[in-house]
């Protein structure tokens, strides 16, 4: 037993070695996914930038489907699984309940991801149906099988997390109440549990239908169930991201939240209200009642947004207090100038908070109200919204954490520190421009997922969009180039560190 652990010389955590190995493979897989997703992002963005208009419709739909899955699915969720193991095992000084189950989860997720990717690549004409996979567009059964395997694998990882928390509590491996970061991860895991359950409800009948075993099923009901699952899955990302915010505030400047209860309450609000707020995806669908729409878009959403604002207040507060304690007390803002901006994890944290809050949050509140939703639905403005939340916000937080995972878990000194300083800025500003360009062009009615805005594939009623829309699309394209450089730098630094970084 004893040799299964090592003590971290920096943090003093007792690190369970089998857990550490699982953190490593899930983390590396996530980085491979962002590499694939990033290449696809560039190709897709260079197509939507109409001046360049790179890809044919078929290639565009293929790469867009792959971009969605590899980014929102595989990059984010493999990274989150690594976070779950890190918080449950490492931060609580506990052994992972069952490393075998952890490997099973990993193999399920990996094979699912590979199967879906390969089916889309091999037969895009049939399988490039976008990650939303709306029925009754029908892909090959293998496509859905891949999605189901991935979801079951992720569910297994979540259960393993719960089991590990249980052991930690029983064996009293930590003192006092659950640390806040773990609490945040727990929030994410609870949300994930319900989400994955609904994922299965939506996808298993779709899978059997694709094999002609069961009759077609109602397209509206699919959408309702799908969004019950898919939007709450976004809340997993928000909770995980915020857990990472607290962790980074602690790691970068030693900040701890000013009021634990306050922060915990904010996490709790997520669990209680976010599921309800998910109905905004179906606001312009037939068959959804007005009373429901109103409750959903007002009370429930306010509660969830309130929670985000609580965190967005608590985390910078923690940073400020910690820096002031270090003696940076002159004037209102000395702490801000003297903050460790040279540390890429710190700038990634700050950029994550800003992009999530300003770009993602505010546009989300706007788009979630029923009246405005009619204007935004399925336009590029929606895609802009979640490039603010998850593509900029969550991704930056995870990138920032990577700069600590590399030395602490992989025990290698980060290579290219000189460039690492700029990496979050390039990526953050780039994706912000992508998000802004998308939102603004969406206001002119530019649709998402559209292969040919200028020619409409030769359609009879082709017309010209407002030229301003194209200007915004060019800004999106320029942002994409910048983001691609920042993203490539991230992958290079991570992989370079694994291969060449000095062993610590």
């Amino acid at each position: 037993m004893a040799e299964e652990f090592r003590t971290c010389p920096v943090t003093g955590f007792k690190v369970h070695l089998p857990a550490e190995k699982l953190i490593k493979v899930n983390g590396v897989t996530a980085v491979v996914a962002i590499l694939i997703g990033g290449i696809m992002a560039l190709l897709v963005a260079m197509t939507r930038w109409e001046t360049i208009h790179l890809l044919s419709p078929l290639d565009y739909y293929k790469f867009l489907t792959l971009h969605g899955w590899n980014m929102l699915g595989y990059w984010i969720i493999f990274f989150e699984v690594a976070i779950l193991y890190f918080t449950a095992a490492v931060m609580l000084n506990c052994r992972l309940a069952s490393p075998k189950v952890g490997w099973l989860a990993y193999i399920l997720m990996l094979s699912g991801a590979l199967i879906t990717n390969i089916t889309v690549l091999m037969n895009p004409a049939k399988n490039a149906i976008m990650f939303t996979s709306y029925v009754p567009l029908k892909a090959d059964p293998l496509y859905y099988l891949g999605v189901i395997l991935f979801a079951v694998g992720a569910l297994t990882a979540v259960l393993l997390f719960f089991a590990t928390l249980h052991i930690a509590r029983k064996e009293k491996t930590y003192k006092g109440s659950l640390p806040l970061v773990v609490f945040g991860a727990l929030t994410a895991a609870i949300l994930a549990f319900g989400t994955l359950f609904f994922g299965a409800v939506a996808l298993v009948p779709t899978f059997t239908w694709s094999m002609d075993l069961t009759p077609t099923w109602d397209a509206l009901v699919y959408r309702i169930i799908f969004w019950a699952f898919a939007h709450s899955s976004q809340q997993i990302n928000v909770s995980a991201m915020i857990a990472v915010w607290y962790l980074l505030a602690f790691l970068t400047v030693g900040g701890t939240t000013i009021n634990e209860k306050f922060s915990r309450l904010a996490f709790l609000l997520y669990i209680l209200f976010i599921n309800i707020a998910s109905a905004h995806h179906i606001l312009v669908d037939p068959g959804v009642t007005p009373a429901w729409k109103i409750w959903n878009t007002s009370y429930a959403m306010y509660a969830a947004v309130l929670a985000s604002m609580m965190h967005a207040f608590a985390v910078p507060g923690a940073i400020e207090v910690a820096l002031r304690k270090k003696g940076y007390t002159r004037g209102l803002f000395e702490w801000l100038w003297k903050a460790p901006w040279k540390n890429p994890a710190f700038s990634a944290l700050i950029l994550s908070i800003i992009t999530f809050g300003f770009l993602g949050g505010i546009t989300g509140v706007l788009a979630g109200t029923e009246q405005l939703n009619i204007r935004f639905h399925n336009t590029l403005a929606i895609t802009g919204h979640f490039h603010g939340t998850v593509a900029a916000g969550t991704t930056l937080a995870f990138m920032g954490l990577t700069y600590y995972v590399l030395p602490l878990i992989f025990r290698r000194e980060v290579v290219g520190q000189k460039y690492a300083v700029y990496q979050p800025w390039l990526f953050g500003i780039g994706v912000s421009l992508v998000a802004i360009g998308m939102m603004a062009s969406g206001l002119y009615g530019v649709p998402r997922r559209h292969a040919d805005l200028t020619g409409f594939g030769g359609a009879g009623f082709a017309f010209d969009y407002d030229p301003t829309a194209f200007l915004w699309l060019s800004i999106m394209g320029l942002g994409a180039l910048l983001a691609a450089v920042g993203g490539a730098l991230y992958v290079l630094i991570a992989v370079g560190t694994l291969l060449k970084g000095k062993k610590l």
Binding site: M130, A219, R223, A228, N275, P290, R449
Partner: protein
């Protein structure tokens, strides 16, 4: 302890969400009916036969009487018919699809609705400005998705 409460509540909400939709009452200004693709196609055909005034790019142009029920059918990958409407007059627009999901997006106003097979969505609309409007499909509906543009003329 309060975690169990949270979990239970989350699950209740998860379950309530679809139930609410399925059993909730209908909205008076937008109405929804179940309809089979064949029935909807029949209604649209009858509507076109009755009020057709011409053809543009191979698509029938229809000028329905003011205040009537008007139809727009989405299928891979076209909108039919072209509607000729009068400014300031209220119509009941019946929307549905006979194959997969489509998205109704009216340019340049950017007014957007989902069009879902088996459901007939009835929207009460009053055009307030004369001009030519285009209906872009903004939900991915297969490889010809980018070709799916229709037209509405308001006089």
């Amino acid at each position: 302890m309060w975690f169990s409460i949270a979990i239970v509540w989350a699950l209740v909400m998860f379950i309530m969400m679809p139930l609410w939709h399925v059993y909730g009452k209908q909205n008076p200004s937008t109405e929804t009916y179940k309809v089979t693709p064949a029935d909807f196609q029949k209604d649209v055909d009858a509507f076109i036969a009755k009020y057709k005034v011409g053809e543009e790019k191979g698509v029938p142009v229809v000028a329905p009487p003011p205040g009537s029920d008007i139809y727009l059918l989405a299928k891979q990958w076209s909108w039919s018919p072209v509607l000729k409407l009068k400014k300031g007059v209220t119509y009941r627009l019946h929307l549905s699809s006979i194959d997969v999901l489509h998205g109704f997006s009216l340019y340049p106003l950017s007014i957007n609705f989902m069009v879902i097979p088996d459901y007939e969505y009835v929207l009460t609309i009053t055009p307030t400005q004369a001009g030519e409007y285009y209906v872009v499909c903004n939900e991915y509906c297969g490889l010809g998705h980018q070709q799916m543009v229709g037209k509405i003329i308001v006089e």
